[in-house]
Symmetry: C2
């Protein structure tokens, strides 16, 4: 995936790729916790000792794979400034659109990671990423003093966002990413602004 990958021994890249694909395969079939390293290696056609020369354990492998997914998803997001500049009540937000597109392209993966019960560490990590991004946007807006703490609002946004994505990933999805992005925007901001005491129609966040 990276440019530096070409300098890495071909065998190493192949081994890692095989192990990751085997994990994805197995994760579609059974719960992550019930997967053991022997069956993972059998599936990957890699010797068990080779696995241990690359990863500490199965959690290590999972984490490195998840990291790659996060990077893919967020690498296309606009900066908070750009996102604010593009804001409009009838414009599907670019970052939301990317989220829906990316999850659709990797539907199997996200389905397994997010839908019930899924891998809890993935959900919470993703939630963390979303939170940081939302926080950065929030910091650039003038907010009135509210009884509801800003942190609670942010968590509301992230929780709603994640659950909508999860629903979309596991549903038949007649909606396009753009439609979903717009609905998501509305469900969230229509809720947030009046609660904070701002008129959503007159105010441009």
């Amino acid at each position: 995936m990276n440019a530096e990958d070409n300098h890495v021994d071909l065998r190493v890249r192949r081994t890692r790729k095989l192990l990751w694909e085997a994990l994805l395969d197995l994760i579609m079939e059974k719960d992550f916790e019930t997967i053991n390293i022997k069956e993972l290696c059998d599936r990957a056609m890699v010797h068990r000792t080779t696995f241990y020369s690359h990863y500490q354990d199965k959690y290590d492998l999972l984490e490195q794979g998840m990291q790659a997914m996060y990077n893919e998803m967020t690498s296309l997001w606009p900066s908070p400034e750009k996102a604010l500049a593009q804001f409009g009540w009838h414009t599907p937000p670019e970052n939301f659109v990317h989220i829906y597109k990316h999850t659709a392209e990797n539907r199997d993966f996200y389905h397994r990671m997010l839908c019930r019960p899924g891998v809890s560490s993935f959900r919470s990590q993703l939630s963390q990423y979303f939170l940081e991004y939302a926080q950065a946007r929030f910091d650039r807006i003038d907010l009135p003093d509210s009884q509801v703490p800003a942190q609670a609002i942010l968590r509301f946004i992230v929780g709603a966002m994640l659950e909508l994505v999860t629903w979309w990933v596991e549903s038949e999805r007649p909606q396009s990413p753009e439609e979903m992005a717009l609905y998501t925007l509305r469900l969230i901001t229509y809720g947030v602004y009046p609660t904070l005491g701002i008129d959503p129609q007159s105010h441009n966040p």
Copy 2:
């Protein structure tokens, strides 16, 4: 907990109680997955073979304990009909209040189960309970034809709800359960109604 418990051998009740408390203890200290049955039994001061005469494995124990928690939480909820009858924009919804109270009373447990990364199966099961209840309420409301599917709206509600509870459980919580219930109601319904094309102020859901 149940009335029938008195007919059950004292030793059996004691053993189960000790094992559950030991699990709670350990779950505060480390990830559920890393807990093994030997250390659980040591903590509970119960022999390992005794554990196996009560439960299949640690997941079985966890599930039975979680079940008891769900029951405690939902046993106090009003029926969907009653909840609808009590609705008001300035009345903290009774079920929401119960949720915040119950989670506050069992804060350690919910903190461990919901906060990151938590036990994913608990979150998803709880989410399922919420969904069914919200569904039942939704079924009793006349909804206009909307581009946004009802299921997506329900998932939005549940996701937002759960995340707000999670935030509250892990925060310092200067807010009372009643306040949180009211904010939760507003964040959610202010977002839902306009998105569905209904004026929230004029419409009584």
